[in-house]
């Protein structure tokens, strides 16, 4: 009997997660909306993720631009390094760095916060007072993470483009005009929109995973630590899957 119970536990967890997500979506449209919590959470997520965003974007774009430029210089097509940089920054580095930051910085902080609250039985106290924690805590967090990660995609793209411009022009001696001219050759507004949509999806799913793990914490300090660890792993996995599906749909769709 216990063997059966432990065998179906993962399925139960998946079911619980989807039930919580559905509840969250339904409660999103139910007044009153927790504006104060939404603003506080947006500020919180933005504050923990802005420095990691900058610190991750710069090395990744420099790395990719450096590798691509070696290739392009070998072809004798260094003038197209702007094209490569735009493709890399907008379509690859943008979403991937946003994934890393949202899952590694935003979701972990969110899960640690909610996990601490469930350990201290604050969530139970809220339920006793007749306040639904999903409505007052999870909904604003999910919406805040969605908004902030959409904004992060644009920050990542701009910082990535600026970083690759400086690196290409001043280190690898690419002509600045050719760099700027090549930017829009392969990357159009539809790629930018794809990036923003991906950002919104990432933020939403990472926040849902973090809230689920944070609210179902058990077992003291080790439990909170494990919950944060699982949040990172699951949100990385979910976000990589979303990234590849969104990319594939985008490229299959218009044709």
């Amino acid at each position: 009997m216990t063997g059966l119970a432990s065998a179906i536990r993962p399925f139960r967890a998946i079911g619980d997660f989807f039930a919580m997500s559905l509840d969250t979506f339904v409660l999103m449209f139910k007044p009153p909306f927790a504006w104060r919590e939404f603003l506080a959470q947006s500020w919180f997520v933005a504050r923990v993720s802005i420095v990691p965003t900058l610190m991750l974007t710069i090395p990744f774009t420099v790395l990719i631009v450096f590798t691509l430029n070696i290739l392009l210089i070998e072809f004798g097509a260094a003038d197209f390094s702007g094209t490569g940089a735009a493709t890399a920054a907008v379509t690859q580095v943008g979403p991937v760095v946003t994934v890393l930051v949202i899952a590694g910085a935003g979701a972990t902080a969110m899960c640690a916060d909610l996990g601490a609250r469930s350990i201290r039985e604050e969530l139970d106290a809220m339920r006793v007072l007749g306040i639904n924690p999903l409505h007052s805590l999870v909904v604003p967090r999910v919406l805040a993470a969605t908004c902030v990660s959409t904004a992060l995609v644009s920050v990542v793209s701009i910082v990535g483009l600026a970083g690759s411009f400086f690196f290409s022009v001043f280190v690898q001696h690419v002509t600045p005009g050719a760099f700027a001219g090549g930017l829009t050759l392969l990357t159009g507004s539809s790629d930018v929109i794809l990036g923003l949509v991906k950002g919104a999806l990432f933020g939403m799913s990472a926040a849902l995973i973090a809230c689920y793990k944070g609210m179902s914490v058990g077992g003291g300090a080790q439990g909170v630590g494990n919950a944060v660890n699982e949040t990172v792993v699951y949100s990385f996995m979910a976000l990589f899957v979303i990234n590849i599906i969104a990319t594939a749909i985008f490229y299959v769709g218009p044709k």
Partner: protein, 285 residues
Amino acid sequence: MSAKTVAVQRFPRLHRATEQSFKSWNRIGSQMAFYVNTLGDVRFAIANYKSEMLRLVAGMSLGVGALAVIGGTVVIVGFLTLSTGAIIAVQGYNQLSGIGVEALTGFLAAYVNVRITAPATAGIALAATIGAGATAQLGAMRISEEIDALEAMAIRSVAYLASTRVAAGVLVVIPLYCIAVLMTFVAARVSTTAIYGQATGVYDHYFTTFLNPTDLLWSFMTATVLAVVIMLMHTYYGYTATGGPAGVGEAVGRAVRASLIVSAFTVLVISLAVYGQSGNFNLSG
């Protein structure tokens, strides 16, 4: 004494700001000291704590708790690298066919996967799985005063807890990285040939022509360095966790943030140092 008290009372904000900056300066110093101690004790740990090392290697490769249910670190690393390999193929094939040279997708897979994608993704996966797990374990031990108990029993806690984890991380990363690299190759090949319908001969020709064994060795070295750096940072944050259960969660989050940043810079520095300005690469060759 009295002059200092007067100054502190007269300028409380200035006093607090200087205290803060001194504290962060001291924190960097103690972090550095911890790393040096940990690395210095690795030999001692391997010689004296063999059974603990073995237990950690088993726990790290298969994972603990709920992560073991989905297959542990091996499956997670394999899955993440599989999806990045696939995305390189999807993106590369589409962008290259935009300029009419989609035949070069195999070349892209051999070049980008080995040099950037596989080490970076493996580093991320290591930080998320074994790194964050180590922080959670050590943090919980610190909070429940188990580390103090070790010290009271005259066991060298840094060697027993941190050095063993760093050594075990390096041992685990070698087979894990083999899986990671293979997964990126398999994913790129399958998605290019099976999904986009490129001829397998074309793909294999460009792939094997541009797969450079020296690059693969450097890529392995990058992964090993990443494992050492990540395990050092994560054990530090766990070892110095404070503030109850919430503090452990925060320590895990801070450790993940810090190690992601440091591993990105590590990959960058190593690839700039190894491949240099010329790229150590001949398209015609």
